[in-house]
Protein backbone atom coordinates (compact mmCIF):
# COMPACT_ATOMS: atom_id res chain seq x y z
CA UNK A 1 0.00 0.00 0.00
CA UNK A 2 2.81 2.40 0.89
CA UNK A 3 4.43 1.67 -2.46
CA UNK A 4 1.23 2.59 -4.30
CA UNK A 5 1.00 5.83 -2.29
CA UNK A 6 4.61 6.72 -3.13
CA UNK A 7 3.88 6.07 -6.81
CA UNK A 8 0.72 8.21 -6.92
CA UNK A 9 2.23 10.96 -4.82
CA UNK A 10 5.23 11.25 -7.19
CA UNK A 11 2.85 11.57 -10.17
CA UNK A 12 0.21 13.96 -8.85
CA UNK A 13 0.82 15.47 -5.43
CA UNK A 14 4.55 16.09 -5.67
CA UNK A 15 4.73 16.33 -9.44
CA UNK A 16 8.41 16.73 -10.25
CA UNK A 17 7.99 19.52 -12.76
CA UNK A 18 5.02 21.52 -11.54
CA UNK A 19 5.37 21.20 -7.76
CA UNK A 20 9.04 20.47 -7.11
CA UNK A 21 10.53 22.47 -10.02
CA UNK A 22 12.87 19.72 -11.16
CA UNK A 23 13.57 19.33 -14.87
CA UNK A 24 12.26 22.73 -15.93
CA UNK A 25 14.79 23.06 -18.78
CA UNK A 26 13.50 20.11 -20.87
CA UNK A 27 9.95 21.01 -19.78
CA UNK A 28 10.28 24.43 -21.42
CA UNK A 29 12.64 23.26 -24.17
CA UNK A 30 11.08 20.17 -25.75
CA UNK A 31 7.39 20.90 -25.24
CA UNK A 32 6.64 22.51 -28.59
CA UNK A 33 5.20 19.32 -30.14
CA UNK A 34 3.40 16.31 -28.67
CA UNK A 35 5.55 13.79 -30.63
CA UNK A 36 8.84 15.05 -29.22
CA UNK A 37 7.27 15.34 -25.76
CA UNK A 38 6.33 11.65 -25.85
CA UNK A 39 9.84 10.67 -26.94
CA UNK A 40 11.45 12.74 -24.21
CA UNK A 41 9.10 11.34 -21.55
CA UNK A 42 9.93 7.74 -22.49
CA UNK A 43 13.66 8.47 -22.39
CA UNK A 44 13.33 10.15 -18.98
CA UNK A 45 11.28 7.30 -17.44
CA UNK A 46 13.84 4.78 -18.69
CA UNK A 47 16.90 6.66 -17.39
CA UNK A 48 15.18 7.62 -14.11
CA UNK A 49 14.48 4.01 -13.11
CA UNK A 50 17.94 2.82 -14.13
CA UNK A 51 19.76 5.73 -12.48
CA UNK A 52 17.74 5.42 -9.25
CA UNK A 53 18.53 1.73 -8.84
CA UNK A 54 22.24 2.18 -9.56
CA UNK A 55 22.68 5.24 -7.34
CA UNK A 56 20.74 3.51 -4.55
CA UNK A 57 23.11 0.53 -4.67
CA UNK A 58 26.18 2.79 -4.88
CA UNK A 59 25.02 4.87 -1.93
CA UNK A 60 24.93 1.72 0.19
CA UNK A 61 28.55 1.12 -0.78
CA UNK A 62 29.54 4.73 -0.01
CA UNK A 63 27.89 4.61 3.41
CA UNK A 64 29.74 1.40 4.29
CA UNK A 65 33.02 3.07 3.36
CA UNK A 66 32.09 6.21 5.33
CA UNK A 67 32.19 8.41 2.23
CA UNK A 68 28.56 9.59 2.28
CA UNK A 69 29.60 13.21 1.68
CA UNK A 70 30.93 12.27 -1.79
CA UNK A 71 27.49 11.27 -3.06
CA UNK A 72 26.85 14.38 -5.18
CA UNK A 73 30.11 13.91 -7.12
CA UNK A 74 29.65 10.15 -7.51
CA UNK A 75 26.00 10.41 -8.56
CA UNK A 76 26.54 13.02 -11.26
CA UNK A 77 29.40 10.99 -12.76
CA UNK A 78 27.32 7.80 -12.65
CA UNK A 79 24.38 9.52 -14.35
CA UNK A 80 26.58 11.07 -17.04
CA UNK A 81 28.29 7.79 -17.89
CA UNK A 82 25.04 5.83 -17.57
CA UNK A 83 23.38 8.00 -20.19
CA UNK A 84 26.33 7.47 -22.55
CA UNK A 85 26.25 3.75 -21.90
CA UNK A 86 22.50 3.49 -22.50
CA UNK A 87 22.95 5.36 -25.76
CA UNK A 88 25.63 2.95 -27.03
CA UNK A 89 23.72 -0.10 -25.77
CA UNK A 90 20.44 0.90 -27.41
CA UNK A 91 22.20 1.65 -30.69
CA UNK A 92 23.49 -1.96 -30.80
CA UNK A 93 20.54 -3.85 -29.34
CA UNK A 94 17.44 -1.97 -30.41
CA UNK A 95 18.00 0.47 -33.26
CA UNK A 96 14.27 1.21 -33.41
CA UNK A 97 14.11 2.43 -29.83
CA UNK A 98 17.40 4.27 -30.36
CA UNK A 99 15.90 6.11 -33.32
CA UNK A 100 12.92 7.10 -31.20
CA UNK A 101 14.86 8.21 -28.11
CA UNK A 102 18.20 9.03 -29.74
CA UNK A 103 18.28 12.82 -29.75
CA UNK A 104 16.79 13.11 -26.27
CA UNK A 105 19.24 10.88 -24.43
CA UNK A 106 22.26 13.25 -24.30
CA UNK A 107 19.96 16.04 -23.10
CA UNK A 108 19.04 14.00 -20.04
CA UNK A 109 22.48 14.29 -18.40
CA UNK A 110 21.80 17.92 -17.60
CA UNK A 111 18.26 17.22 -16.45
CA UNK A 112 18.25 18.06 -12.76
CA UNK A 113 15.23 15.79 -12.19
CA UNK A 114 17.46 12.71 -12.47
CA UNK A 115 20.06 13.84 -9.92
CA UNK A 116 17.30 15.31 -7.76
CA UNK A 117 15.42 12.02 -7.75
CA UNK A 118 18.55 10.06 -6.84
CA UNK A 119 19.21 12.41 -3.92
CA UNK A 120 15.56 12.40 -2.80
CA UNK A 121 15.50 8.59 -2.64
CA UNK A 122 18.48 8.69 -0.29
CA UNK A 123 17.07 11.59 1.74
CA UNK A 124 13.78 9.78 2.35
CA UNK A 125 15.54 6.53 3.33
CA UNK A 126 13.65 4.52 0.73
CA UNK A 127 14.27 0.81 0.28
CA UNK A 128 15.03 -0.63 -3.16
CA UNK A 129 11.40 -1.40 -4.07
CA UNK A 130 10.21 2.02 -2.89
CA UNK A 131 13.04 3.63 -4.87
CA UNK A 132 11.93 1.86 -8.06
CA UNK A 133 8.30 2.92 -7.64
CA UNK A 134 9.26 6.47 -6.72
CA UNK A 135 11.35 6.62 -9.91
CA UNK A 136 8.48 5.24 -11.99
CA UNK A 137 6.08 7.76 -10.48
CA UNK A 138 8.50 10.64 -10.99
CA UNK A 139 9.01 9.62 -14.61
CA UNK A 140 5.29 9.27 -15.32
CA UNK A 141 4.64 12.57 -13.56
CA UNK A 142 7.25 14.27 -15.71
CA UNK A 143 5.72 12.71 -18.82
CA UNK A 144 2.19 13.72 -17.81
CA UNK A 145 3.20 17.36 -17.25
CA UNK A 146 5.30 17.49 -20.42
CA UNK A 147 2.65 15.98 -22.71
CA UNK A 148 -0.19 18.10 -21.24
CA UNK A 149 1.95 21.20 -21.67
CA UNK A 150 2.91 20.29 -25.25
CA UNK A 151 -0.78 19.92 -26.07
CA UNK A 152 -1.52 23.38 -24.69
CA UNK A 153 1.43 24.91 -26.54
CA UNK A 154 0.34 23.40 -29.86
CA UNK A 155 -2.98 25.22 -29.43
CA UNK A 156 -1.23 28.43 -28.36
CA UNK A 157 0.43 28.68 -31.77
CA UNK A 158 -2.94 29.74 -33.18
CA UNK A 159 -3.66 32.32 -30.49
CA UNK A 160 -3.05 36.01 -30.85
CA UNK A 161 -0.65 36.77 -27.98
CA UNK A 162 0.42 40.35 -27.14
CA UNK A 163 3.98 41.03 -28.26
CA UNK A 164 5.73 41.28 -24.85
CA UNK A 165 4.21 37.93 -23.80
CA UNK A 166 5.54 36.03 -26.82
CA UNK A 167 8.21 33.42 -26.13
CA UNK A 168 9.42 32.71 -22.60
CA UNK A 169 6.96 35.00 -20.75
CA UNK A 170 3.80 33.46 -22.21
CA UNK A 171 5.19 29.95 -21.80
CA UNK A 172 5.91 30.54 -18.11
CA UNK A 173 2.45 31.94 -17.38
CA UNK A 174 0.83 28.97 -19.14
CA UNK A 175 2.96 26.65 -17.00
CA UNK A 176 1.77 28.59 -13.94
CA UNK A 177 -1.87 27.98 -14.81
CA UNK A 178 -1.18 24.27 -15.40
CA UNK A 179 0.64 24.18 -12.08
CA UNK A 180 -2.43 25.65 -10.37
CA UNK A 181 -4.41 22.59 -11.46
CA UNK A 182 -1.88 20.38 -9.71
CA UNK A 183 -2.04 22.44 -6.50
CA UNK A 184 -5.53 20.97 -6.16
CA UNK A 185 -3.95 17.60 -5.38
CA UNK A 186 -1.79 18.91 -2.54
CA UNK A 187 -2.43 17.38 0.85
CA UNK A 188 -4.30 14.41 -0.63
CA UNK A 189 -1.53 11.96 0.25
CA UNK A 190 0.58 12.39 3.36
CA UNK A 191 3.65 10.18 3.60
Amino acid sequence: MKIFLIFMSAILVNNFVLQRFLGICPFLGVSKKIDTAVGMSLAVIFVMVLASVITWLLNGLLVIMGLGFLKTIVFILVIASLVQFVEIFLKKVSPGLYEALGIFLPLITTNCAILGLALLNIQNNYGLLETIFNALGAGFGFGLALILFAGIREQMDFADIPKPFKGLAGTLITAGILSMAFVGFSGMIKL
Binding site: T72, I73, I76, L119, K163, P164, L168, A169, G176, S179
Partner: protein, 214 residues
Protein backbone atom coordinates in the same frame (compact mmCIF):
# COMPACT_ATOMS: atom_id res chain seq x y z
CA UNK B 1 38.99 49.74 -18.84
CA UNK B 2 35.79 50.01 -20.82
CA UNK B 3 36.33 46.44 -21.93
CA UNK B 4 36.65 45.20 -18.34
CA UNK B 5 33.47 46.99 -17.40
CA UNK B 6 31.77 45.26 -20.28
CA UNK B 7 32.69 41.86 -18.87
CA UNK B 8 30.96 42.78 -15.62
CA UNK B 9 27.81 44.46 -16.92
CA UNK B 10 27.30 41.91 -19.69
CA UNK B 11 26.11 39.28 -17.22
CA UNK B 12 24.28 41.69 -14.96
CA UNK B 13 22.08 43.36 -17.57
CA UNK B 14 22.36 42.86 -21.32
CA UNK B 15 22.90 39.08 -21.06
CA UNK B 16 21.19 38.43 -17.73
CA UNK B 17 21.20 34.67 -17.14
CA UNK B 18 17.60 34.52 -15.89
CA UNK B 19 15.63 37.02 -17.93
CA UNK B 20 17.57 36.97 -21.21
CA UNK B 21 19.23 33.55 -21.45
CA UNK B 22 16.70 31.60 -19.34
CA UNK B 23 19.45 29.50 -17.71
CA UNK B 24 19.21 27.84 -14.31
CA UNK B 25 15.43 27.90 -14.24
CA UNK B 26 14.96 25.15 -11.63
CA UNK B 27 16.62 26.90 -8.65
CA UNK B 28 15.20 30.23 -9.87
CA UNK B 29 11.64 29.00 -9.57
CA UNK B 30 12.05 26.70 -6.58
CA UNK B 31 14.06 28.72 -4.08
CA UNK B 32 12.49 32.18 -4.42
CA UNK B 33 9.68 31.79 -1.90
CA UNK B 34 11.22 34.71 -0.01
CA UNK B 35 13.86 37.39 -0.65
CA UNK B 36 16.17 35.84 1.96
CA UNK B 37 16.08 32.43 0.28
CA UNK B 38 16.73 34.04 -3.10
CA UNK B 39 19.73 35.88 -1.66
CA UNK B 40 21.09 32.69 -0.09
CA UNK B 41 20.75 30.67 -3.28
CA UNK B 42 22.22 33.52 -5.34
CA UNK B 43 25.28 33.79 -3.08
CA UNK B 44 25.86 30.02 -3.06
CA UNK B 45 25.71 29.92 -6.86
CA UNK B 46 27.96 33.00 -7.14
CA UNK B 47 30.60 31.38 -4.90
CA UNK B 48 30.61 28.13 -6.89
CA UNK B 49 30.69 30.03 -10.19
CA UNK B 50 33.69 32.19 -9.19
CA UNK B 51 35.73 29.27 -7.85
CA UNK B 52 34.97 26.94 -10.76
CA UNK B 53 35.74 29.71 -13.28
CA UNK B 54 39.11 30.38 -11.58
CA UNK B 55 40.17 26.72 -11.55
CA UNK B 56 38.92 25.97 -15.06
CA UNK B 57 40.66 29.04 -16.43
CA UNK B 58 43.91 28.02 -14.69
CA UNK B 59 43.90 24.51 -16.17
CA UNK B 60 42.43 25.43 -19.55
CA UNK B 61 45.65 24.56 -21.42
CA UNK B 62 46.21 21.25 -19.61
CA UNK B 63 42.83 19.61 -20.21
CA UNK B 64 42.50 17.54 -23.42
CA UNK B 65 39.59 18.70 -25.51
CA UNK B 66 37.77 15.35 -25.58
CA UNK B 67 37.36 14.89 -21.83
CA UNK B 68 36.84 18.54 -20.90
CA UNK B 69 33.15 18.26 -19.98
CA UNK B 70 33.59 15.44 -17.40
CA UNK B 71 36.58 17.31 -15.95
CA UNK B 72 34.52 20.49 -15.59
CA UNK B 73 31.68 18.56 -13.98
CA UNK B 74 34.01 17.01 -11.38
CA UNK B 75 35.50 20.41 -10.53
CA UNK B 76 32.05 21.98 -10.17
CA UNK B 77 30.74 19.04 -8.13
CA UNK B 78 33.75 19.34 -5.80
CA UNK B 79 33.06 23.00 -5.09
CA UNK B 80 29.34 22.34 -4.67
CA UNK B 81 30.10 19.67 -2.06
CA UNK B 82 32.31 22.18 -0.22
CA UNK B 83 29.58 24.83 -0.22
CA UNK B 84 27.03 22.22 0.87
CA UNK B 85 29.14 21.21 3.88
CA UNK B 86 30.01 24.84 4.77
CA UNK B 87 26.35 25.88 4.70
CA UNK B 88 25.41 22.82 6.75
CA UNK B 89 27.95 23.93 9.36
CA UNK B 90 27.41 27.70 9.48
CA UNK B 91 23.98 28.47 7.99
CA UNK B 92 21.93 25.49 9.10
CA UNK B 93 18.46 27.11 8.77
CA UNK B 94 19.10 28.32 5.23
CA UNK B 95 20.64 24.95 4.34
CA UNK B 96 17.46 23.26 5.52
CA UNK B 97 15.09 25.48 3.52
CA UNK B 98 17.12 25.33 0.31
CA UNK B 99 17.50 21.59 0.85
CA UNK B 100 17.83 19.59 -2.33
CA UNK B 101 18.72 22.59 -4.42
CA UNK B 102 22.20 23.08 -2.96
CA UNK B 103 23.59 19.78 -4.35
CA UNK B 104 21.63 20.50 -7.51
CA UNK B 105 23.85 23.55 -8.20
CA UNK B 106 26.00 20.92 -9.98
CA UNK B 107 23.49 20.65 -12.81
CA UNK B 108 22.80 24.38 -13.05
CA UNK B 109 23.39 25.00 -16.75
CA UNK B 110 24.65 28.52 -15.97
CA UNK B 111 27.83 27.24 -14.30
CA UNK B 112 28.77 24.62 -16.88
CA UNK B 113 27.77 27.09 -19.59
CA UNK B 114 30.18 29.78 -18.33
CA UNK B 115 32.96 27.21 -17.89
CA UNK B 116 32.53 25.99 -21.45
CA UNK B 117 31.83 29.31 -23.15
CA UNK B 118 34.10 31.65 -21.23
CA UNK B 119 36.55 30.32 -18.63
CA UNK B 120 37.96 27.65 -20.95
CA UNK B 121 39.10 30.36 -23.37
CA UNK B 122 40.01 33.40 -21.28
CA UNK B 123 42.56 34.50 -18.66
CA UNK B 124 41.95 34.06 -14.93
CA UNK B 125 41.31 37.73 -14.22
CA UNK B 126 38.78 38.05 -17.04
CA UNK B 127 37.08 34.83 -15.95
CA UNK B 128 36.68 36.17 -12.41
CA UNK B 129 35.05 39.32 -13.78
CA UNK B 130 32.76 37.25 -15.98
CA UNK B 131 31.79 35.02 -13.05
CA UNK B 132 31.12 38.07 -10.87
CA UNK B 133 28.92 39.65 -13.55
CA UNK B 134 26.95 36.50 -14.32
CA UNK B 135 26.71 35.48 -10.66
CA UNK B 136 25.50 38.91 -9.55
CA UNK B 137 23.05 39.02 -12.46
CA UNK B 138 21.70 35.62 -11.37
CA UNK B 139 21.58 36.60 -7.68
CA UNK B 140 19.91 39.92 -8.56
CA UNK B 141 17.23 38.11 -10.54
CA UNK B 142 16.63 35.69 -7.66
CA UNK B 143 16.36 38.54 -5.12
CA UNK B 144 13.96 40.47 -7.38
CA UNK B 145 11.76 37.42 -7.92
CA UNK B 146 11.94 36.46 -4.23
CA UNK B 147 11.05 40.01 -3.15
CA UNK B 148 7.99 40.22 -5.41
CA UNK B 149 6.73 36.82 -4.26
CA UNK B 150 7.39 37.50 -0.57
CA UNK B 151 5.82 40.99 -0.60
CA UNK B 152 2.69 39.84 -2.45
CA UNK B 153 2.39 36.42 -0.86
CA UNK B 154 3.33 36.96 2.78
CA UNK B 155 3.28 40.76 3.19
CA UNK B 156 6.89 40.81 4.41
CA UNK B 157 10.25 41.75 2.87
CA UNK B 158 13.41 39.98 4.11
CA UNK B 159 11.22 38.90 7.04
CA UNK B 160 10.14 42.46 7.95
CA UNK B 161 6.34 42.80 8.15
CA UNK B 162 4.96 45.40 5.72
CA UNK B 163 1.18 45.44 6.11
CA UNK B 164 0.18 42.53 8.30
CA UNK B 165 -2.32 39.95 7.10
CA UNK B 166 -4.69 42.38 5.43
CA UNK B 167 -3.48 41.82 1.87
CA UNK B 168 -1.85 38.50 1.10
CA UNK B 169 -2.08 36.60 -2.15
CA UNK B 170 -1.12 33.20 -0.80
CA UNK B 171 -0.77 31.60 -4.24
CA UNK B 172 2.36 33.69 -4.86
CA UNK B 173 4.27 31.54 -2.35
CA UNK B 174 2.94 28.32 -3.88
CA UNK B 175 4.54 26.83 -7.04
CA UNK B 176 2.15 28.50 -9.57
CA UNK B 177 3.15 31.89 -8.17
CA UNK B 178 6.75 31.25 -9.19
CA UNK B 179 5.84 30.55 -12.81
CA UNK B 180 3.44 33.47 -13.06
CA UNK B 181 5.71 36.03 -11.36
CA UNK B 182 8.69 35.07 -13.50
CA UNK B 183 6.48 35.17 -16.61
CA UNK B 184 5.18 38.63 -15.76
CA UNK B 185 8.68 39.94 -14.98
CA UNK B 186 10.00 38.53 -18.26
CA UNK B 187 7.08 40.18 -20.11
CA UNK B 188 7.88 43.48 -18.37
CA UNK B 189 11.53 43.35 -19.47
CA UNK B 190 10.41 42.41 -23.01
CA UNK B 191 8.02 45.34 -23.07
CA UNK B 192 10.74 47.71 -21.87
CA UNK B 193 13.06 46.44 -24.61
CA UNK B 194 10.39 46.73 -27.31
CA UNK B 195 9.35 50.26 -26.34
CA UNK B 196 13.00 51.37 -26.15
CA UNK B 197 13.56 50.12 -29.70
CA UNK B 198 10.42 51.82 -30.95
CA UNK B 199 11.52 55.11 -29.40
CA UNK B 200 14.89 54.71 -31.11
CA UNK B 201 13.18 54.13 -34.46
CA UNK B 202 10.99 57.20 -33.97
CA UNK B 203 14.03 59.32 -33.15
CA UNK B 204 15.83 58.08 -36.25
CA UNK B 205 12.79 58.84 -38.38
CA UNK B 206 12.52 62.33 -36.88
CA UNK B 207 16.22 62.90 -37.48
CA UNK B 208 15.83 61.76 -41.09
CA UNK B 209 12.87 64.05 -41.61
CA UNK B 210 14.75 66.98 -40.08
CA UNK B 211 17.70 66.18 -42.34
CA UNK B 212 15.46 66.04 -45.43
CA UNK B 213 13.65 69.30 -44.70
CA UNK B 214 16.95 71.04 -44.03
Amino acid sequence: MANKQNELTNGMFSNNPIFVQALGMCPTLATTTSATNGLGMGMATLAVLIMSNIVISLIRKLVPDKIRIPVYIIIIAGFVTMIDLLMHGFLYDLWKTLGLFIPLIVVNCLILGRAEAYASQNSVFKSILDALGMGLGFAGGLILLGSVREILGAGTWFGLPLWGDAFNVFIMILPPGAFITLGLLAAMFNWMGISREERKKKKEKAAKKAGESA
